[in-house]
């Protein structure tokens, strides 16, 4: 699945970052993955484990911070957060007039380096 591309993408980013800043190894990498981003965390972990071999991230653990879908409802003027991978209407008042603020993240957040 495309978790392989995502794992490659995040490795490229952290390795390039280390090369530029002169760090020699990575101990952990924290990523923020939105629940609506279409990424399966276990598949991403698996892909990462196999792809980090022979890179400066070889010893790194991947920490996945899953970001739920949240937003604001124009109907009842309140914030909402849902557990699903999609949102159709406000979970409080069922209004369709909503603004989605989080849930599509696919970001490297931070890393611990030596």
């Amino acid at each position: 699945m495309h978790e392989v591309s995502i794992a490659q993408g995040l490795l490229d980013i952290v390795i390039e970052n280390c090369r530029k800043q002169g760090y020699s190894g990575i101990e952990s990498i924290k990523v923020k993955i939105g629940k609506a981003a279409g990424v399966v965390p276990d598949a991403l972990l698996f892909a990462f484990e196999s792809m980090k071999v022979d890179t400066i991230a070889e010893k790194a653990t991947l920490i996945i911070d899953q970001v739920p879908i949240s937003g604001f409802c124009n109907g009842c003027k309140s914030n909402f957060t849902v557990d699903d991978a999609y949102v159709i209407c406000c979970p409080h008042c069922n209004s369709f007039s909503i603004r989605v603020d989080t849930g599509r993240e696919l970001n490297v957040d931070e890393m611990e380096v030596v």
């Binding site: 495309h2 993408g9 980013i13 970052n17 279409g38 999609y86 369709f96 696919l106 970001n107 957040d109």
Partner: protein, 215 residues
């Protein structure tokens, strides 16, 4: 030591997609990224669409498949330029794969480039390749639960073709539910009911497409 990075993982792909898009715009070609689960009828729709529009619109095709050249051969028979990409296991096309085959496409001679993505309802929706719009197919035999199970593709697409409607008498599928859930996920989604077997609905779709291309 902790270091903040805060970079979008797809940034590299998106940058190349933007470059592709600039190339397409300069050549004056409209680009569709066509997506669906395996076997929903993308190649069949391409064949029908080319036959319907060939006289009026100059079309080129990029075929994405994990392996094989069957789909490209079906298109080649129609006499339109076609390039096959084999992803060798990869479940989607990315912007870089498209960029690499662009030299093989006579972009300046084309009005419309259709990219048939790898058959997969999940991953292709996440990777931009430089397209103007994404279009998806769902064959009615796949069932009415698909929009809510694979929401991202429905949200990202500008048009949804409900294909294989010739099979409706033989299957239990709630078309109203597909329409309702799809529209809930994406109120702007344009929907067409088609059969690539009988040709039903193809001209409506082709007319809609032609107005976009000619814009």
């Amino acid at each position: 030591m902790k270091v903040k990075v805060v970079t979008n993982i797809l940034e590299a792909n998106d940058r190349i997609a933007d470059e592709n898009r600039r190339i397409f715009q300069e050549a004056g070609v409209y680009v569709i990224n066509m997506m669906s689960g395996p076997g929903a009828g993308k190649t069949s729709l391409l064949v029908r669409t080319i036959q319907e529009m060939q006289q009026k619109v100059k079309i080129g095709v990029i075929e994405g498949d994990i392996a094989g050249t069957d789909d490209a051969e079906r298109i080649d028979k129609l006499g339109v330029p076609v390039v096959q990409i084999n992803t060798g296991g990869g479940c989607h096309l990315d912007a870089n794969m498209i960029r690499e085959v662009l030299p093989d496409m006579p972009l300046k001679d084309l009005d419309l480039l259709i990219i048939e993505n790898v058959g997969n309802l999940v991953c292709p929706a996440e990777f931009k390749v430089g397209e103007d719009i994404k279009v998806m197919l769902l064959s009615v035999a796949e069932g009415h639960d698909k929009p809510l199970k694979y929401p991202l593709m429905f949200q990202e697409s500008s048009a949804l073709l409900l294909n294989k409607i010739d099979l409706l008498p033989y299957i239990d599928v709630d078309m109203a539910k597909i329409r309702k859930d799809s529209l809930s996920l994406n109120p702007k989604l344009k929907m067409f009911e088609v059969s690539c077997k009988t040709g039903q609905g193809i001209s409506e779709w082709a007319q809609w497409l032609e107005t976009l291309v000619k814009k």
